[in-house]
Amino acid sequence: MLYAILCYHDEDHVGSWTKEQDAAVMSKLAVVQDKLTKQGRLGPVARLLPTTAATTLRKDDPPVVLDGPFAETKEQLLGFYVVDCNNLDEALDVARDLAKVNPGGAYEIRPVGMFTPGSIAT
Protein backbone atom coordinates (compact mmCIF):
# COMPACT_ATOMS: atom_id res chain seq x y z
CA MET A 1 0.00 0.00 0.00
CA LEU A 2 1.30 3.44 -0.83
CA TYR A 3 0.80 6.13 1.79
CA ALA A 4 0.86 9.86 1.27
CA ILE A 5 2.17 11.84 4.22
CA LEU A 6 0.84 15.39 4.10
CA CYS A 7 2.76 18.05 5.96
CA TYR A 8 0.89 20.69 7.97
CA HIS A 9 2.40 23.47 10.04
CA ASP A 10 2.05 27.20 10.69
CA GLU A 11 3.73 28.82 7.70
CA ASP A 12 4.47 32.01 9.66
CA HIS A 13 6.37 29.86 12.09
CA VAL A 14 8.32 27.91 9.47
CA GLY A 15 8.81 31.09 7.45
CA SER A 16 10.48 32.77 10.42
CA TRP A 17 13.27 30.18 10.57
CA THR A 18 16.65 31.59 9.68
CA LYS A 19 18.47 30.11 6.69
CA GLU A 20 20.65 28.14 9.12
CA GLN A 21 17.70 26.77 11.11
CA ASP A 22 15.95 25.84 7.88
CA ALA A 23 19.06 24.11 6.55
CA ALA A 24 19.47 22.22 9.83
CA VAL A 25 15.91 20.85 9.64
CA MET A 26 16.32 19.94 5.97
CA SER A 27 19.54 18.06 6.58
CA LYS A 28 17.98 16.09 9.42
CA LEU A 29 15.04 15.24 7.16
CA ALA A 30 17.47 14.20 4.43
CA VAL A 31 18.87 11.50 6.71
CA VAL A 32 15.42 9.98 7.17
CA GLN A 33 14.66 10.31 3.47
CA ASP A 34 17.98 8.72 2.45
CA LYS A 35 17.17 5.62 4.43
CA LEU A 36 13.83 5.26 2.66
CA THR A 37 15.41 5.97 -0.73
CA LYS A 38 17.96 3.17 -0.22
CA GLN A 39 15.11 0.82 0.57
CA GLY A 40 13.35 1.92 -2.63
CA ARG A 41 10.39 3.11 -0.62
CA LEU A 42 10.42 6.87 -1.17
CA GLY A 43 8.21 8.46 -3.80
CA PRO A 44 8.09 12.13 -4.76
CA VAL A 45 8.80 14.71 -2.08
CA ALA A 46 7.79 18.33 -2.53
CA ARG A 47 8.13 21.48 -0.50
CA LEU A 48 5.48 24.02 -1.47
CA LEU A 49 5.90 27.78 -1.67
CA PRO A 50 3.88 29.86 0.84
CA THR A 51 0.10 30.09 0.46
CA THR A 52 0.47 33.70 -0.70
CA ALA A 53 1.72 32.18 -3.98
CA ALA A 54 -1.37 29.96 -4.28
CA THR A 55 -4.29 30.26 -6.72
CA THR A 56 -7.54 28.33 -6.41
CA LEU A 57 -9.77 27.07 -9.21
CA ARG A 58 -13.31 26.49 -7.97
CA LYS A 59 -14.75 23.77 -10.16
CA ASP A 60 -18.05 25.55 -10.73
CA ASP A 61 -19.58 25.85 -14.19
CA PRO A 62 -17.79 27.82 -15.52
CA PRO A 63 -14.78 27.41 -13.19
CA VAL A 64 -13.80 30.46 -11.14
CA VAL A 65 -10.20 31.45 -10.49
CA LEU A 66 -9.54 32.93 -7.03
CA ASP A 67 -6.34 34.29 -5.56
CA GLY A 68 -5.09 32.58 -2.47
CA PRO A 69 -5.18 29.07 -1.04
CA PHE A 70 -8.16 26.73 -0.74
CA ALA A 71 -9.88 28.02 2.39
CA GLU A 72 -13.11 26.02 2.78
CA THR A 73 -13.43 23.51 5.58
CA LYS A 74 -16.35 21.48 4.28
CA GLU A 75 -14.25 19.76 1.63
CA GLN A 76 -11.35 17.43 2.27
CA LEU A 77 -8.06 16.79 0.53
CA LEU A 78 -8.62 13.76 -1.69
CA GLY A 79 -5.59 13.69 -3.94
CA PHE A 80 -2.95 15.69 -5.74
CA TYR A 81 -1.03 16.05 -9.01
CA VAL A 82 2.41 17.39 -9.74
CA VAL A 83 2.61 18.88 -13.25
CA ASP A 84 5.43 20.61 -15.07
CA CYS A 85 4.27 23.95 -16.50
CA ASN A 86 5.98 27.10 -17.76
CA ASN A 87 3.70 29.41 -15.83
CA LEU A 88 0.53 29.74 -13.82
CA ASP A 89 -1.67 30.04 -16.93
CA GLU A 90 -0.50 26.66 -18.17
CA ALA A 91 -1.13 25.13 -14.75
CA LEU A 92 -4.62 26.65 -14.74
CA ASP A 93 -5.27 25.16 -18.20
CA VAL A 94 -4.36 21.72 -16.88
CA ALA A 95 -6.63 22.26 -13.87
CA ARG A 96 -9.50 23.37 -16.15
CA ASP A 97 -9.12 20.23 -18.28
CA LEU A 98 -9.27 18.10 -15.15
CA ALA A 99 -12.24 20.09 -13.84
CA LYS A 100 -14.19 19.49 -17.06
CA VAL A 101 -14.20 15.74 -16.55
CA ASN A 102 -14.46 15.87 -12.77
CA PRO A 103 -16.59 18.85 -11.70
CA GLY A 104 -17.30 19.88 -8.12
CA GLY A 105 -14.91 20.95 -5.39
CA ALA A 106 -11.76 22.90 -6.12
CA TYR A 107 -8.14 22.66 -7.13
CA GLU A 108 -5.54 24.68 -5.29
CA ILE A 109 -2.60 25.44 -7.56
CA ARG A 110 0.56 25.96 -5.57
CA PRO A 111 4.07 26.40 -6.98
CA VAL A 112 6.52 23.77 -5.77
CA GLY A 113 9.70 25.17 -4.27
CA MET A 114 11.70 21.98 -3.92
CA PHE A 115 11.04 18.63 -5.56
CA THR A 116 12.67 15.22 -5.64
CA PRO A 117 10.96 12.69 -7.92
CA GLY A 118 11.88 9.67 -5.80
CA SER A 119 11.68 6.07 -6.93
CA ILE A 120 9.56 3.36 -5.50
CA ALA A 121 10.67 -0.22 -6.17
CA THR A 122 8.03 -2.16 -8.06
Binding site: H13, P50, T51, T52, T55, G68, M114
Partner: protein, 423 residues
Protein backbone atom coordinates in the same frame (compact mmCIF):
# COMPACT_ATOMS: atom_id res chain seq x y z
CA UNK B 1 11.92 24.41 20.24
CA UNK B 2 11.53 25.56 23.85
CA UNK B 3 8.26 26.79 25.32
CA UNK B 4 9.37 30.40 25.46
CA UNK B 5 10.60 30.38 21.86
CA UNK B 6 7.29 28.95 20.72
CA UNK B 7 5.30 31.50 22.73
CA UNK B 8 7.50 34.33 21.52
CA UNK B 9 6.80 33.30 17.96
CA UNK B 10 3.06 33.02 18.53
CA UNK B 11 2.89 36.43 20.23
CA UNK B 12 4.79 38.07 17.39
CA UNK B 13 2.54 36.49 14.75
CA UNK B 14 -0.63 37.48 16.61
CA UNK B 15 0.50 40.99 17.39
CA UNK B 16 -0.76 42.96 14.36
CA UNK B 17 -4.23 41.43 14.55
CA UNK B 18 -4.49 41.71 18.34
CA UNK B 19 -3.17 45.28 18.66
CA UNK B 20 -5.27 46.28 15.63
CA UNK B 21 -8.45 44.94 17.25
CA UNK B 22 -7.61 46.48 20.64
CA UNK B 23 -6.95 49.80 18.94
CA UNK B 24 -10.37 49.72 17.31
CA UNK B 25 -11.84 48.90 20.68
CA UNK B 26 -10.07 51.50 22.82
CA UNK B 27 -9.36 54.04 20.07
CA UNK B 28 -6.09 54.91 21.73
CA UNK B 29 -2.77 53.50 20.64
CA UNK B 30 -1.12 53.54 24.07
CA UNK B 31 -4.08 51.83 25.72
CA UNK B 32 -4.15 49.21 22.96
CA UNK B 33 -0.44 48.52 23.26
CA UNK B 34 -0.61 48.31 27.03
CA UNK B 35 -3.59 45.95 26.87
CA UNK B 36 -1.67 43.72 24.46
CA UNK B 37 1.38 43.83 26.71
CA UNK B 38 -0.70 42.74 29.70
CA UNK B 39 -2.25 39.95 27.68
CA UNK B 40 1.23 38.75 26.69
CA UNK B 41 2.29 38.63 30.34
CA UNK B 42 -0.72 36.44 31.11
CA UNK B 43 0.03 34.27 28.10
CA UNK B 44 3.55 33.66 29.38
CA UNK B 45 2.08 32.41 32.66
CA UNK B 46 -0.88 30.51 31.29
CA UNK B 47 0.22 28.93 28.01
CA UNK B 48 3.09 26.79 29.32
CA UNK B 49 0.67 25.20 31.85
CA UNK B 50 -2.56 25.04 29.88
CA UNK B 51 -1.11 24.64 26.42
CA UNK B 52 -1.47 27.11 23.59
CA UNK B 53 -4.96 28.37 22.72
CA UNK B 54 -6.37 27.38 19.34
CA UNK B 55 -6.53 30.98 18.20
CA UNK B 56 -3.75 32.95 19.87
CA UNK B 57 -4.89 36.34 18.53
CA UNK B 58 -8.48 35.88 19.78
CA UNK B 59 -7.17 34.84 23.19
CA UNK B 60 -4.92 37.89 23.42
CA UNK B 61 -7.67 40.27 22.29
CA UNK B 62 -10.12 38.88 24.85
CA UNK B 63 -7.65 38.85 27.74
CA UNK B 64 -6.13 42.22 26.82
CA UNK B 65 -9.53 43.79 26.64
CA UNK B 66 -10.71 42.31 29.96
CA UNK B 67 -7.58 43.34 31.85
CA UNK B 68 -7.80 46.87 30.51
CA UNK B 69 -11.48 47.14 31.38
CA UNK B 70 -10.80 45.86 34.91
CA UNK B 71 -8.10 48.48 35.28
CA UNK B 72 -10.43 51.20 34.08
CA UNK B 73 -13.22 50.07 36.43
CA UNK B 74 -10.92 49.95 39.43
CA UNK B 75 -9.72 53.40 38.53
CA UNK B 76 -6.17 52.13 38.82
CA UNK B 77 -5.23 53.25 35.43
CA UNK B 78 -2.54 55.87 35.30
CA UNK B 79 -3.00 56.70 31.67
CA UNK B 80 -5.93 59.00 30.86
CA UNK B 81 -9.20 57.14 30.64
CA UNK B 82 -10.68 56.54 27.21
CA UNK B 83 -13.43 58.81 26.00
CA UNK B 84 -16.87 58.21 27.49
CA UNK B 85 -18.19 56.80 24.25
CA UNK B 86 -15.48 54.15 24.27
CA UNK B 87 -16.48 53.05 27.77
CA UNK B 88 -20.17 53.02 26.95
CA UNK B 89 -19.26 50.64 24.13
CA UNK B 90 -18.20 48.07 26.71
CA UNK B 91 -21.76 46.96 27.44
CA UNK B 92 -22.25 45.31 24.11
CA UNK B 93 -18.63 44.19 24.14
CA UNK B 94 -19.35 40.50 23.81
CA UNK B 95 -21.40 41.03 20.73
CA UNK B 96 -18.81 43.31 19.22
CA UNK B 97 -16.09 40.83 20.03
CA UNK B 98 -17.96 37.96 18.44
CA UNK B 99 -18.43 40.07 15.36
CA UNK B 100 -14.79 41.02 15.29
CA UNK B 101 -13.51 37.52 15.61
CA UNK B 102 -15.42 36.24 12.61
CA UNK B 103 -12.56 37.60 10.58
CA UNK B 104 -14.45 40.14 8.52
CA UNK B 105 -13.00 43.01 10.53
CA UNK B 106 -9.46 42.05 11.20
CA UNK B 107 -8.29 42.92 7.69
CA UNK B 108 -9.26 46.52 8.30
CA UNK B 109 -7.93 46.40 11.87
CA UNK B 110 -4.47 45.44 10.68
CA UNK B 111 -4.62 47.83 7.75
CA UNK B 112 -5.62 50.67 10.11
CA UNK B 113 -2.79 49.82 12.46
CA UNK B 114 -0.32 49.98 9.59
CA UNK B 115 -1.98 53.03 8.14
CA UNK B 116 -1.72 55.20 11.25
CA UNK B 117 2.04 54.73 11.02
CA UNK B 118 2.05 56.32 7.54
CA UNK B 119 0.73 59.70 8.57
CA UNK B 120 1.89 62.07 5.82
CA UNK B 121 3.26 64.59 8.30
CA UNK B 122 5.60 62.01 9.80
CA UNK B 123 9.05 61.96 8.22
CA UNK B 124 9.88 58.60 6.64
CA UNK B 125 12.25 57.56 9.42
CA UNK B 126 9.54 58.14 12.04
CA UNK B 127 6.98 56.20 10.02
CA UNK B 128 9.31 53.25 9.84
CA UNK B 129 10.30 53.38 13.50
CA UNK B 130 6.67 53.57 14.56
CA UNK B 131 5.61 50.65 12.37
CA UNK B 132 8.46 48.49 13.62
CA UNK B 133 7.55 49.29 17.21
CA UNK B 134 3.75 49.15 17.01
CA UNK B 135 3.06 46.60 14.28
CA UNK B 136 6.11 44.37 14.34
CA UNK B 137 6.64 44.70 18.09
CA UNK B 138 10.41 45.10 17.87
CA UNK B 139 11.90 46.57 21.03
CA UNK B 140 13.19 50.14 21.02
CA UNK B 141 16.65 48.66 21.51
CA UNK B 142 16.33 46.47 18.41
CA UNK B 143 15.06 49.37 16.30
CA UNK B 144 17.76 51.72 17.57
CA UNK B 145 20.36 49.13 16.62
CA UNK B 146 19.00 48.77 13.10
CA UNK B 147 18.97 52.54 12.66
CA UNK B 148 22.43 52.90 14.22
CA UNK B 149 21.23 55.49 16.74
CA UNK B 150 21.16 55.47 20.54
CA UNK B 151 18.26 53.90 22.36
CA UNK B 152 17.36 57.23 23.96
CA UNK B 153 17.23 58.96 20.57
CA UNK B 154 15.01 56.21 19.16
CA UNK B 155 12.74 56.31 22.21
CA UNK B 156 12.28 60.02 21.64
CA UNK B 157 11.64 59.55 17.93
CA UNK B 158 8.91 56.99 18.61
CA UNK B 159 7.31 59.06 21.36
CA UNK B 160 7.14 62.07 19.06
CA UNK B 161 5.68 60.00 16.25
CA UNK B 162 3.02 58.59 18.58
CA UNK B 163 2.04 62.06 19.76
CA UNK B 164 1.69 63.18 16.15
CA UNK B 165 -0.43 60.13 15.32
CA UNK B 166 -2.69 60.68 18.34
CA UNK B 167 -3.55 64.13 17.00
CA UNK B 168 -4.21 62.82 13.53
CA UNK B 169 -7.64 61.32 14.25
CA UNK B 170 -7.61 58.45 11.81
CA UNK B 171 -11.26 57.46 11.37
CA UNK B 172 -12.30 54.18 12.99
CA UNK B 173 -15.26 53.36 10.78
CA UNK B 174 -14.78 50.54 8.32
CA UNK B 175 -13.26 52.28 5.28
CA UNK B 176 -15.09 52.30 1.96
CA UNK B 177 -13.42 50.90 -1.17
CA UNK B 178 -11.75 54.18 -2.11
CA UNK B 179 -10.42 54.86 1.39
CA UNK B 180 -9.24 51.26 1.62
CA UNK B 181 -7.33 51.53 -1.64
CA UNK B 182 -5.69 54.75 -0.44
CA UNK B 183 -4.68 53.14 2.84
CA UNK B 184 -3.33 50.14 1.03
CA UNK B 185 -1.17 52.31 -1.22
CA UNK B 186 0.20 54.31 1.73
CA UNK B 187 0.96 51.15 3.67
CA UNK B 188 2.65 49.51 0.68
CA UNK B 189 4.88 52.57 0.31
CA UNK B 190 5.80 52.42 3.99
CA UNK B 191 6.68 48.73 3.78
CA UNK B 192 8.92 49.54 0.84
CA UNK B 193 10.55 52.28 2.94
CA UNK B 194 11.28 49.79 5.71
CA UNK B 195 12.83 47.47 3.17
CA UNK B 196 14.97 50.20 1.63
CA UNK B 197 16.15 51.33 5.04
CA UNK B 198 17.68 47.87 5.39
CA UNK B 199 18.64 47.40 1.75
CA UNK B 200 20.50 50.69 1.38
CA UNK B 201 22.83 49.73 4.23
CA UNK B 202 26.52 49.73 3.48
CA UNK B 203 28.58 46.55 3.69
CA UNK B 204 29.75 47.08 7.25
CA UNK B 205 26.20 47.51 8.55
CA UNK B 206 24.29 45.23 6.15
CA UNK B 207 24.16 42.37 8.63
CA UNK B 208 22.82 44.60 11.42
CA UNK B 209 20.20 46.11 9.14
CA UNK B 210 19.11 42.89 7.49
CA UNK B 211 16.23 42.42 9.99
CA UNK B 212 14.62 45.51 8.46
CA UNK B 213 14.46 43.76 5.08
CA UNK B 214 13.13 40.58 6.66
CA UNK B 215 10.51 42.48 8.62
CA UNK B 216 9.39 44.30 5.48
CA UNK B 217 8.94 40.96 3.71
CA UNK B 218 6.97 39.62 6.65
CA UNK B 219 4.66 42.67 6.58
CA UNK B 220 4.24 42.43 2.80
CA UNK B 221 3.23 38.77 3.09
CA UNK B 222 0.83 39.68 5.90
CA UNK B 223 -0.75 42.35 3.73
CA UNK B 224 -1.00 39.95 0.79
CA UNK B 225 -2.76 37.36 2.91
CA UNK B 226 -5.31 40.00 3.89
CA UNK B 227 -5.75 41.35 0.36
CA UNK B 228 -5.21 38.28 -1.76
CA UNK B 229 -6.33 39.73 -5.07
CA UNK B 230 -4.31 42.95 -5.01
CA UNK B 231 -1.90 42.69 -7.92
CA UNK B 232 0.28 45.54 -6.64
CA UNK B 233 0.70 43.88 -3.24
CA UNK B 234 1.77 40.72 -5.09
CA UNK B 235 4.17 42.93 -7.04
CA UNK B 236 5.53 44.56 -3.88
CA UNK B 237 6.08 41.22 -2.15
CA UNK B 238 7.76 39.84 -5.27
CA UNK B 239 9.97 42.92 -5.56
CA UNK B 240 11.18 42.64 -1.96
CA UNK B 241 11.84 38.90 -2.28
CA UNK B 242 13.74 39.26 -5.56
CA UNK B 243 15.90 42.07 -4.22
CA UNK B 244 16.56 40.42 -0.89
CA UNK B 245 17.48 37.17 -2.68
CA UNK B 246 20.73 38.89 -3.67
CA UNK B 247 21.64 39.94 -0.11
CA UNK B 248 24.41 37.36 0.34
CA UNK B 249 26.14 38.39 -2.88
CA UNK B 250 26.02 42.18 -2.60
CA UNK B 251 29.13 42.83 -0.51
CA UNK B 252 32.60 41.32 -0.40
CA UNK B 253 34.30 40.25 2.82
CA UNK B 254 35.64 43.79 3.34
CA UNK B 255 32.13 45.23 3.04
CA UNK B 256 32.74 46.72 -0.42
CA UNK B 257 29.84 46.85 -2.87
CA UNK B 258 29.73 44.16 -5.55
CA UNK B 259 27.77 45.34 -8.58
CA UNK B 260 25.09 43.14 -10.11
CA UNK B 261 27.32 42.20 -13.07
CA UNK B 262 30.09 41.00 -10.75
CA UNK B 263 27.99 39.15 -8.17
CA UNK B 264 28.40 35.41 -7.61
CA UNK B 265 24.95 34.37 -8.78
CA UNK B 266 25.20 30.98 -7.10
CA UNK B 267 24.89 32.87 -3.82
CA UNK B 268 21.49 34.26 -4.74
CA UNK B 269 18.72 32.72 -2.68
CA UNK B 270 16.84 30.50 -5.14
CA UNK B 271 13.95 29.88 -2.77
CA UNK B 272 13.16 33.60 -2.54
CA UNK B 273 13.59 33.95 -6.30
CA UNK B 274 11.13 31.10 -6.93
CA UNK B 275 8.57 32.72 -4.66
CA UNK B 276 9.09 36.15 -6.22
CA UNK B 277 8.69 34.77 -9.75
CA UNK B 278 5.54 32.85 -8.77
CA UNK B 279 4.02 36.02 -7.32
CA UNK B 280 4.69 38.11 -10.43
CA UNK B 281 3.24 35.34 -12.55
CA UNK B 282 0.13 35.49 -10.40
CA UNK B 283 -0.05 39.30 -10.51
CA UNK B 284 0.23 39.43 -14.31
CA UNK B 285 -3.02 37.51 -14.69
CA UNK B 286 -4.90 40.50 -13.29
CA UNK B 287 -3.72 42.81 -16.10
CA UNK B 288 -3.74 45.71 -13.65
CA UNK B 289 -0.15 46.72 -13.89
CA UNK B 290 1.50 49.14 -11.48
CA UNK B 291 4.91 50.43 -10.40
CA UNK B 292 5.66 47.59 -7.96
CA UNK B 293 4.82 44.93 -10.52
CA UNK B 294 7.02 46.60 -13.11
CA UNK B 295 9.94 46.94 -10.75
CA UNK B 296 9.45 43.33 -9.72
CA UNK B 297 9.40 42.29 -13.38
CA UNK B 298 12.72 44.09 -13.87
CA UNK B 299 14.18 42.36 -10.82
CA UNK B 300 12.82 39.07 -12.19
CA UNK B 301 14.69 39.52 -15.49
CA UNK B 302 17.92 39.92 -13.52
CA UNK B 303 17.05 36.92 -11.34
CA UNK B 304 16.33 34.74 -14.39
CA UNK B 305 19.72 35.44 -15.99
CA UNK B 306 22.23 32.80 -14.94
CA UNK B 307 25.07 35.06 -16.16
CA UNK B 308 25.13 38.86 -16.65
CA UNK B 309 25.43 38.31 -20.43
CA UNK B 310 22.11 36.51 -20.50
CA UNK B 311 20.25 39.51 -19.05
CA UNK B 312 17.39 40.63 -21.29
CA UNK B 313 18.31 44.33 -21.35
CA UNK B 314 15.91 45.10 -24.20
CA UNK B 315 13.01 43.98 -22.07
CA UNK B 316 14.37 45.86 -19.05
CA UNK B 317 14.61 49.03 -21.18
CA UNK B 318 10.94 48.58 -22.18
CA UNK B 319 9.85 48.02 -18.58
CA UNK B 320 11.68 51.14 -17.39
CA UNK B 321 9.98 52.97 -20.27
CA UNK B 322 6.61 51.87 -18.90
CA UNK B 323 7.65 52.88 -15.39
CA UNK B 324 8.70 56.32 -16.67
CA UNK B 325 5.18 56.87 -18.01
CA UNK B 326 3.53 55.62 -14.83
CA UNK B 327 5.82 57.29 -12.33
CA UNK B 328 7.90 59.93 -14.12
CA UNK B 329 11.06 60.62 -12.16
CA UNK B 330 14.64 61.50 -13.08
CA UNK B 331 15.83 58.53 -11.01
CA UNK B 332 13.74 56.13 -13.11
CA UNK B 333 15.19 57.67 -16.29
CA UNK B 334 18.67 57.29 -14.84
CA UNK B 335 18.03 53.59 -14.23
CA UNK B 336 16.62 53.23 -17.71
CA UNK B 337 19.77 54.78 -19.11
CA UNK B 338 21.81 51.92 -17.67
CA UNK B 339 19.66 49.48 -19.67
CA UNK B 340 19.95 51.72 -22.73
CA UNK B 341 23.75 51.70 -22.44
CA UNK B 342 23.66 47.89 -22.70
CA UNK B 343 21.27 47.85 -25.65
CA UNK B 344 22.27 50.92 -27.68
CA UNK B 345 25.61 51.91 -26.19
CA UNK B 346 27.00 54.54 -23.82
CA UNK B 347 26.58 57.43 -26.25
CA UNK B 348 22.79 57.00 -26.40
CA UNK B 349 22.65 56.50 -22.63
CA UNK B 350 24.64 59.66 -22.01
CA UNK B 351 22.30 61.67 -24.26
CA UNK B 352 19.43 60.34 -22.22
CA UNK B 353 20.77 61.50 -18.85
CA UNK B 354 22.23 64.89 -19.82
CA UNK B 355 18.84 66.65 -19.42
CA UNK B 356 18.65 65.29 -15.85
CA UNK B 357 21.80 67.11 -14.72
CA UNK B 358 20.05 70.05 -13.09
CA UNK B 359 17.51 67.89 -11.24
CA UNK B 360 20.06 65.37 -10.01
CA UNK B 361 22.90 67.76 -9.28
CA UNK B 362 23.16 66.41 -5.71
CA UNK B 363 22.55 62.77 -6.45
CA UNK B 364 25.42 60.37 -5.95
CA UNK B 365 24.22 57.76 -8.45
CA UNK B 366 23.81 60.32 -11.23
CA UNK B 367 27.51 61.12 -11.18
CA UNK B 368 28.52 57.50 -10.68
CA UNK B 369 26.50 56.43 -13.72
CA UNK B 370 27.58 59.44 -15.80
CA UNK B 371 31.21 58.75 -14.97
CA UNK B 372 30.81 55.12 -16.00
CA UNK B 373 29.27 56.07 -19.37
CA UNK B 374 32.04 58.62 -20.03
CA UNK B 375 34.65 56.04 -19.11
CA UNK B 376 33.14 53.57 -21.58
CA UNK B 377 33.42 56.25 -24.27
CA UNK B 378 37.07 56.84 -23.40
CA UNK B 379 36.34 60.41 -22.22
CA UNK B 380 38.47 59.81 -19.16
CA UNK B 381 39.03 63.39 -18.02
CA UNK B 382 35.32 64.12 -17.95
CA UNK B 383 34.75 60.78 -16.27
CA UNK B 384 37.21 61.71 -13.52
CA UNK B 385 35.33 64.97 -12.87
CA UNK B 386 32.05 63.05 -12.57
CA UNK B 387 33.60 60.46 -10.25
CA UNK B 388 35.08 63.19 -8.03
CA UNK B 389 31.66 64.70 -7.71
CA UNK B 390 30.17 61.28 -6.91
CA UNK B 391 32.65 60.71 -4.10
CA UNK B 392 31.76 64.08 -2.62
CA UNK B 393 28.10 63.05 -2.63
CA UNK B 394 28.53 59.44 -1.47
CA UNK B 395 26.16 58.40 1.31
CA UNK B 396 28.27 55.58 2.66
CA UNK B 397 31.97 54.83 2.80
CA UNK B 398 31.32 51.74 0.64
CA UNK B 399 29.83 53.89 -2.11
CA UNK B 400 32.82 56.22 -2.01
CA UNK B 401 35.26 53.30 -2.04
CA UNK B 402 33.56 51.83 -5.08
CA UNK B 403 33.90 55.05 -7.08
CA UNK B 404 37.49 55.49 -5.92
CA UNK B 405 38.22 52.13 -7.53
CA UNK B 406 37.07 53.55 -10.89
CA UNK B 407 39.15 56.68 -10.35
CA UNK B 408 42.25 54.63 -9.60
CA UNK B 409 41.74 52.69 -12.80
CA UNK B 410 41.31 55.93 -14.76
CA UNK B 411 44.52 57.29 -13.30
CA UNK B 412 46.40 54.14 -14.25
CA UNK B 413 45.01 54.37 -17.79
CA UNK B 414 45.78 58.06 -18.00
CA UNK B 415 49.36 58.05 -16.78
CA UNK B 416 51.10 56.91 -19.97
CA UNK B 417 49.07 59.36 -22.01
CA UNK B 418 49.95 62.24 -19.67
CA UNK B 419 53.63 61.44 -20.05
CA UNK B 420 53.56 61.30 -23.84
CA UNK B 421 51.32 64.35 -24.12
CA UNK B 422 53.97 66.55 -22.52
CA UNK B 423 53.61 70.32 -22.88
Amino acid sequence: MTDTAWIDNALTSARPQAVGALLRYFRNLDTAEEAFQNACLRALKSWPQNGPPRDAAAWLIMVGRNVAIDDIRRGKKQAPLPEDEAISDLDDAEEALAERLDGSHYRDDILRLLFICCHPELPATQQIALALRVVSGLTVKQIARAFLVSEAAMEQRITRAKARVAEANVPFETPDAVARAERLAAVAAMIYLIFNEGYSASGDTAEIRKPLCEEAIRLARLLLRLFQSEAEIMGLTALLLLQHARAEARFDSDGAVILLDDQDRTRWNQKMIAEGLALIDKAMRHRRTGPYQIQAAIAALHARAATPEETDWTQIDLLYGALEIMQPSPVVTLNRAVAVSKVRGAEAALDMIEPLASQLSNYFHFFGVRGAFLMQLGRNDEAAVAFDRAIALANTSAEAAHIRMHLDRLQRDNQPRDVTAGK
